[in-house]
Structure formats: structure tokens, C-alpha cells
Symmetry: C2
Subunit: 400 residues, 2 copies
């Protein structure tokens, strides 16, 4: 079985390494040897073992009938979309780690794969090395999915963990993360929640079988989380995590990315640093959780290679994946019930007590001049109306 | 697609309930409607909806060509083995939750299924509702598996959690668990580790592709864990968990069931009560963890029904599973390196200090008259030889 890798960056070079290092085990599990025939990259890599198979022109790959599987690990929508579509139309299976591509064109590419009796696989697009796409598609099939909640972005989880453990503010930790290569120079996709938004859109599309546009997912990042917020969390034995969440409530589907204050008993409480974890709740199954490294060269490449093995095992057979291009309506979050952790100036204590049903007053060491509390569960719309009447310092959704 | 359920006990009635309640979703995901045509049980269930499909004679099912899938949830090796083998030979797929059957005859039944182009699926046999068999078989295929460590038995995890949280001794908690139905009247299979032993044998067979006989798995239960052991664990911010573990070290495969003292940073530290979790370490992937309810009627039934959906999707196509009946040698644990937590009478402190390289002296509130310590990592065989020269009160393997 001959494969081609599009892109010799972090993940692409990891795929090349794994296919070469674990060749024997892969051959056993795929039922045949797997060989990298081409690697596509615009750059040259003098002295790198990839030199022997490096090409600069995609048409060499597209037009070679010996290539059965194309691994797309370039990232970004174009030219990935054009290349992947052409490969599928030419009867090649495609394995990708590209969440932008999958979130935007997943339904269409799956449909082409089905018609051509090949496969479009994207295990690495969510949760890096954590198996979640295949389990959602093939293991959690007995249940109606009631909720998916995940820590889907390693960079923001690293930042939040570090802010808490070392008492540092957001900007300081972000700079440190950038220096270490954990955060990009333009960190917006991570810290504003867009990366997690694409991932929860993919998971929700798979869970309910129709297209969730990530533009419809309400997205709130972590840039407004302050040292004071974290001081309250720590005092309450709680943690602030950035969650991508979707829920099915009374036939309506909600989807959102937002920070959440969670207690020690929450299964995602102990997921720290760059780790990711995804909790899936089924109507009979209850909660299951998947945990591991959500990013990084080798874990992500490992997930891509597991797709290659699956594609090799399913030559000529399309693996059924239910994700139609019918648009999934995302319900207005105004009707979604949740608790809020709220901080207002001390002078507004009486007003806050009138406006909200307060479940618990919160305190934090060294924080003065403000009144902080946890509301009872209430509709997001009602919360917003009430909050408008106060000078809210910050509010974070809570599950405490 | 017509199915038959063998056994209308806890899991069987759960399967019946899920197939009837989630019918629409199952039909969508399986590509066809799924209907329970027969339920086999020796008992009658007057007034129960199962009455209409109840039969007492297996030959009715075996000889009905309309039945494509047989769900075996009776437990025990016989008559399950005879029934399952007959079903497969007659070209029916089989889905089972029966760990005794799978551990003993898995390789043979998989081979028959392959020859007959049907499927033998057993997701529910390990970890209840947690997807682990299918991920091991289909998702973690890029890596060489270096280690599998699991909390595989909910009863013992419940007992250990309760002993710690309420400061009770083993016998008291066991009686309470029996009264609540969490432990069986004859608790040996759970508390002596045999149940976990069958499960780690199944996982290890799948990870390395050849037959691990559970009789070859060294098995130690939790009956010797005392309140004092737990007091030391708590003082060290550690926990004692019953692990089923297998490891590949320098080409040798080790497998064992034994309690282990683990620290707060261990990914399985926070797995409490009846929950199960399984950690898998790949050579490129690093650690991934799967967590959920390891037992119970509906979670287990959910896993069985996910197998039914998979079998329905793969009619006429055998899902490749590598588990040959070639015997897997299990290496002698004498050569396996580990740390030990050891307690000896105070009078033997000097002797212990001579015999062992002590990494840390351990203390516990209210425990006197003894000397407790953590050894450096050492071969199990060397440990045993040294321990023979002391009057060891207890020793527990440790990862601290």
C-alpha cells in the first residue's frame, strides 16, 4: 500500500517517522506493508531522509494510480480542500488532521468518499492523539448523545493551569507559552476559543448527524480571566477550564465554547497542562471520558497513522459515517439554563441580591472591595438582562 | 435485522430495553431496523413485555435463518461456549459481555467468525460501558503498545474507596457492598482479583495478538489491605488501587493483577467508587485513558448494543481482529522492576535498612510500633529474597 503525505511540517514529519519506525507492526495490523511513496512540500530538506521521496508538485501524487491513501497534514482550508477533493474523486482515501478543513467541508468530503467507495478519515482533527472520532462514530452508537464536553485546546489549558499554579496573570503566561512554542505568535485562534469552536462543531456534527457550522457556535475565550477569578476558584477548591460543549435538551441542540468554573468532583477537574479530555454522556451509558495529549507532533501523527491503517483495512469499503450537509440549527443560548459565578463592586451587593437568586457567596484571599457569588441555575437570557443593571467585573459560567 | 438475546438477566434485560427505547437512532446508525425476535431464558416472566418473544429452547434460535445476530449475556463458560460456537458456525454474528468466555475461547471464536465472514464482538467484556476493545483494535494501531494499566473491577474499587473515605476495615465494607448488591455473596472472583485477571488477559491478547491464558497472570487481590496500609497512603497523599497491568519490556510481556500505591499525579488516582479506567501507553502516542462505569445494567448493555450496531453494519464482512491462538509467554515477574511500600515491626528497622535501598520512610497518624518505607526500584525476585529475612507485616507495589 503506497501513501503520500501532503506537508512535511510538524505532523507530517511525525507521520513519516512512525510509518518508518513501526513498519512491522503496521503491516501486521493493516494486513499489508505501508510505504511512503511521496511527501509533498514546497521546501527542500537537504540531508533529511525525506529527500528521496520529496516532490513539489501535487499533480505527481494525484495522477499516480499507485497511491491509494493521501495524508493531508498541511492545515488551513486551501489548498488542502482542492487537493483532498481531487484525491477522493480519483478514488484515493484521505486521512487528515486538519480541523479547519473538516469543520468546513467534512459533510461534502464524506459524501464524495462514500460515492467513490473510499474513506475520508479525520481522527487527529480533534483531541490530537486521543481516540474520539472513531469511538463517537463506531462505539457510542447504542445511545442518544445527551452532552459532549471537552477540554479541546491544549494551549489554553496550559495557560489556565499555569495562571493557577504560579499565580501569574494572563499576559505573562501567554508570553511564556509563546516563548516555549506552546502558543503561536498570533494566539487568537487558541485564546479566543476559535480552535475549540471548530472541534466542538465537528464532534456535534458527528453526534447528531448533520452539519454544525462553527460560525453558529457562541465562542468566548480566556482573555478576560483574571488573577482574581482564579483566586476565588482556588478558594472554592474549584478550577476554571475552557470547555467546548454541546447539549441536546428537549430536542434542541446547543453548542458553545466558554470558560467554566468546575468543582473537584467534575471528571475534567484534574485535566491539566497541555492535556485534553472529552466527556460524552449517553442516555443509557452515562458518562465516558477520553483523556490524553491533545496536540504535539507524535501523538497527533499517531492518530493520523491509525487512520491510515483503517483506510488500508477498508480498501473498496466505505466506513459508514453519518454527517449529512443538512444544516443543524443551533438553539439560542438565551434559553439554556446554567449557574453563573459573578463579581460586582461591593457597593452593588444589595442590588445583586435583589436581582439574583444567590446560591452561595464566594470569597477569595486578598481580594477586597467586591461582592462575588454563585447564582442558582437560570436561563442565559435572564442572566444577561439582570447583569445589564450592574457593573459586572466578570462572570463565568459554573458547574459547582 | 433480527437478533436473539441469550439470557434475560441484568445485562440481557438492559439490551432489550435499549433496543426498544432507542430504536430510531439505532436504525439510523445501523442502516436498518433492529428487532429482538427471541429472548432465551429458562425462566418465565409473566406480565413482562419480554413474554412475547421468550423461548426456552436454544435450537429455535440456532435454526432460525432470520436471526443474524446472537447476543450472549448469560455469563460463564458453559453453555455459552456451545451456543456461541453453534451460532457462528451457522453464519450468525455474536456479541457478548462474557469475559470468562472471551478470555478462554476468544481466539478460537474469532477464527470461526473470520472463516464464516461474520463477527464475534465483545466490547462489554472489559470495562463495561467504556469503549476499550474497539479502540485497542481499531484506533491504537499506529503504535507499539508499551503498557496497559487498568482499574478493571468496580467492586474492589468501591471497597478500596470506601475503606479510605470512611476509615473502615475490609470485612465491614465488603458486608456493606454485599448488602447493596455491589458485591456477590461469594466475592472471591472480585476481591481475589480473578475478574480483573481475565480482563487484563483479554486486553493483553489483543494488544500483542496472541493468546494470554489468564491462569498465567499472577493475581493478588485486596483482602490483605488493612486500615493501616490506607492510613500510610492517605498520609502520603496517595491511594491504593487494584491494577490489572501488562507491560512489554525488552521484548518480554509481563502481566499481573495486584494492588498498587499511587500518587496524586497518576492519571488513575482520581478514579473512585465503581468507576473503571484504562490507561494505554503507546510508543509514539504516549498515554491515553478511557474512563467510565465499568459495570451496571445499562452501561454494559449499551456496549453490547454498540456491538450489535457494528455487526449490522458489517454484514458479510469480518472485522479484522488480531488474536491468534498461539500462546503468549508471560515473563517471570521475578525480573520485573518495581518499587515496594513495606511495613515491618519497629524492631526490624536496622535489618530492613541493611537489606533495602530505602527511598523514603513512611509515617501514618496513629500507627506505632512499626517501620514503614518505600524501596527504590528493584527486581521482584530480589525483593522477595530480601523480604524473606524479615517479618513483613505487608508490602504493596508502588509507583510514587
Amino acid at each position: 500500500m503506497k501513501i503520500a503525505i501532503l506537508g512535511y511540517g510538524t505532523v507530517g514529519s511525525g507521520v513519516f517517522e512512525i510509518v518508518n519506525s513501526n513498519a512491522e507492526g503496521l503491516a501486521r495490523r493493516a494486513g499489508q506493508e505501508i510505504e511512503v511513496k511521496y511527501v509533498l512540500d514546497l521546501r527542500d530538506f537537504p540531508g533529511d531522509p525525506v529527500e528521496k521521496v520529496l516532490v513539489h508538485d501535487y499533480s505527481v501524487i494525484a495522477n499516480d494510480p499507485e497511491v491509494d491513501i493521501v495524508v493531508e497534514v498541511m492545515g488551513g482550508v486551501e489548498p488542502a480542500y482542492t487537493f483532498v477533493k481531487e484525491a477522493l474523486l480519483k478514488g484515493k482515501s484521505v486521512c487528515t488532521s486538519n480541523k479547519e478543513l473538516v469543520a468546513k467541508h467534512g459533510a461534502e468530503l464524506l459524501e464524495i468518499a462514500k460515492q467513490k467507495k473510499v474513506n475520508f478519515l479525520f481522527e487527529a482533527s480533534v483531541g490530537g492523539g486521543i481516540p474520539i472520532i472513531r469511538p463517537l462514530n463506531q462505539s457510542l452508537t447504542a445511545d442518544e448523545i445527551e452532552e459532549i464536553t471537552g477540554i479541546l485546546n491544549g494551549t489554553t489549558n496550559y495557560i489556565l493551569t499555569k495562571m493557577r499554579d504560579e499565580g501569574l496573570d494572563f499576559d505573562t503566561v501567554l508570553k511564556d507559552a509563546q516563548a516555549k512554542g506552546f502558543a503561536e505568535r498570533n494566539p487568537s485562534a487558541d485564546v479566543d476559543g476559535f480552535d475549540a469552536g471548530r472541534k466542538i462543531a465537528i464532534l456535534t456534527s458527528l453526534a447528531y448527524g448533520s452539519q454544525v457550522d462553527y460560525e453558529d457556535v457562541y465562542t468566548e475565550g480566556i482573555t478576560k480571566i483574571t488573577e482574581n477569578d482564579i483566586a476565588y476558584a482556588t478558594a472554592a477548591d474549584a478550577a476554571i477550564k475552557l470547555f467546548g460543549t454541546s447539549k441536546s435538551v428537549d430536542g434542541k441542540i446547543y453548542a458553545m465554547v466558554a470558560p467554566k468554573l468546575i468543582g473537584k468532583e467534575h471528571p475534567l477537574y484534574a485535566v491539566n497542562d497541555v492535556f485534553n479530555a472529552i466527556l460524552v454522556r449517553g442516555n443509557f451509558l452515562g458518562d465516558v471520558m477520553f483523556y490524553g495529549k491533545g496536540a504535539g507532533k507524535l501523538p497527533t501523527a499517531s492518530a493520523v497513522v491509525s487512520d491510515v491503517v483503517d483506510a488500508a483495512k477498508h480498501q473498496g469499503v466505505n466506513i459508514m459515517t453519518i454527517w449529512s450537509n443538512k444544516k443543524q440549527q443551533i438553539a439560542d443560548k438565551a434559553t439554556l439554563a446554567t449557574k453563573f459565578f459573578v463579581r460586582v463592586p461591593e457597593a452593588e451587593k444589595a442590588a445583586a441580591e435583589k436581582l439574583f437568586k444567590i446560591e452561595k457567596v464566594m470569597t477569595a484571599e486578598g481580594v477586597t472591595g467586591e461582592f462575588a457569588f454563585l447564582t442558582a441555575e437560570m436561563a442565559e437570557g435572564d442572566f444577561e438582562k439582570a447583569a445589564e443593571q450592574l457593573n459586572v467585573l466578570n462572570r463565568i459560567r459554573a458547574e459547582l
